[in-house]
């Protein structure tokens, strides 16, 4: 028999009471996760590489697809080539830590450098074979490229965080809470209307939406911390990403 939203709300209250408020707090790490992985040697490096490829392939690919570098090849192949040339380099992430940059900024800087190298290499190959051909060499302004990458990274990060939060809600039996969260924040449906359609009180609707929004916030914070933001910088980072996403 399906569980009613009211019963789910009550279960939610019991669950949150039992599990304490600790899960609602931010993880107490900054660059901690990557640093901890680096300390674990090759196993840690493999985890870092897997994380980088999972998290940054899409935004790097989207960036190159919208840039003048798209003439160099398929975005996916270019990103794979970049990862292959950089992630195996000794000390690549130690250099990132020393740089003090957000990880996404470190990666887009490296990616631009890689793309320029690639463009030069192809140009010299063409000159060797067709000496009279004038070759187009794409160039990028690092500052505007970083802004553009912030935009595609923000969109990708928000999608990943929403997906992770939704998955967590489903695992914890809060699928209805997530559905209400989406309706309210993305669909713009009022609490009053949500309460009516889900047959809960307005207070229960607010409480259930809050349950999902806390999980979404945690997912965003987790990704921002892994990208190198410190806890003090989180609000500024979120504001920066919102600015980057605005048309």
């Amino acid at each position: 028999m399906p569980i009613s939203p009211k019963a789910m709300h009550n279960r939610d209250l019991t669950s949150t009471t039992q599990k304490s408020s600790k899960r609602d707090s931010f993880p107490a790490t900054q660059r901690g996760w990557l640093v901890a992985q680096l300390a674990q040697g090759s196993a840690g490096n493999a985890r870092i590489n897997a994380y980088i490829m999972e998290t940054y392939t899409e935004p790097l690919g989207n960036y190159v697809a919208g840039s003048s570098f798209r003439s160099l090849g398929q975005p996916k192949d270019l990103v794979s080539g970049f990862f292959a040339s950089r992630l195996a380099q000794a000390g690549y992430f130690e250099k990132w830590i020393d740089s003090g940059l957000p990880l996404r900024r470190w990666l887009i800087n490296g990616f631009l450098f890689f793309l320029q190298e690639e463009a030069r290499r192809r140009k010299s190959e063409r000159i060797d074979t067709l000496s009279d051909e004038s070759s187009f060499e794409p160039v990028a302004d690092v500052s505007s490229a970083a802004e553009e990458f912030d935009r595609v990274w923000a969109a990708s990060m928000v999608r990943s965080a929403a997906s992770a939060a939704r998955e967590r809600c489903v695992q914890e039996g809060f699928e209805t809470h997530w559905e209400m969260f989406e309706k309210h924040f993305v669909g713009g449906v009022s609490y009053a209307e949500i309460a009516e359609s889900f047959e809960v009180s307005g207070g229960q609707a607010a409480s259930m939406v809050r349950t999902a929004s806390i999980r979404f916030r945690q997912a965003v914070v987790d990704l921002l911390l892994k990208d190198g933001a410190t806890e003090d910088e989180l609000d500024d980072e979120i504001a920066r990403l919102m600015r980057a996403l605005r048309p």
Partner: protein, 155 residues
């Protein structure tokens, strides 16, 4: 469920990370979620800033309040919010939401919220802490908002 492929959805999701209305009311919702028993009690509500102009139940729940009564009670709530401790600030924020509900139900207009969407969030957040007659008042205000098309989808 959405796959959030458009920028507008992404922006709205990021906006969800901010406080929708009075941030103190978000704390009230969190207390209700955790069930820590520290929500404003009925006697605290009726004996707090809402009682500044007289009997809070008669004035604001039963609808006998005049404009001056709303203003007096609102000023008392704002003073408590500015000077009180955490529990008193939560009482003040909840009381302001009750005044908002009373104003919507009996005067047909908002008292403090800038938009219908703000009012909807304020009322829903406060409702998580209220029981009995006060909860019914706030629920009526939320229904009244829907009935007059105030809480239309405008995000």
């Amino acid at each position: 469920m959405s796959d959030f492929t458009d920028t507008t959805s992404n922006l709205r999701l990021l906006a969800a990370l901010g406080d929708e209305t009075d941030p103190v009311l978000v704390q009230v919702v969190d207390r209700a979620r955790r069930g820590d028993g520290l929500l404003p009690t009925r006697s605290a509500l009726e004996g707090g800033p809402l009682s500044e102009p007289g009997d809070a139940m008669e004035l604001f729940c039963m609808g006998y309040a005049e404009r001056e009564d709303y203003m007096l009670a609102l000023a008392a709530c704002e003073a408590l919010a500015a000077t009180g401790n955490a529990a008193e600030r939560e009482l003040a924020a909840t009381s302001i939401a009750v005044l908002e509900a009373s104003s919507i139900v009996y005067r047909g207009k908002r008292l403090v919220s800038r938009t219908d969407r703000d009012a909807d969030a304020r009322l829903a957040h406060a409702l998580s802490a209220l029981r009995g007659a006060w909860a019914r008042l706030v629920a009526s205000a939320m229904r009244a908002q829907v009935a007059r098309g105030g809480s239309r989808r405008s995000a």
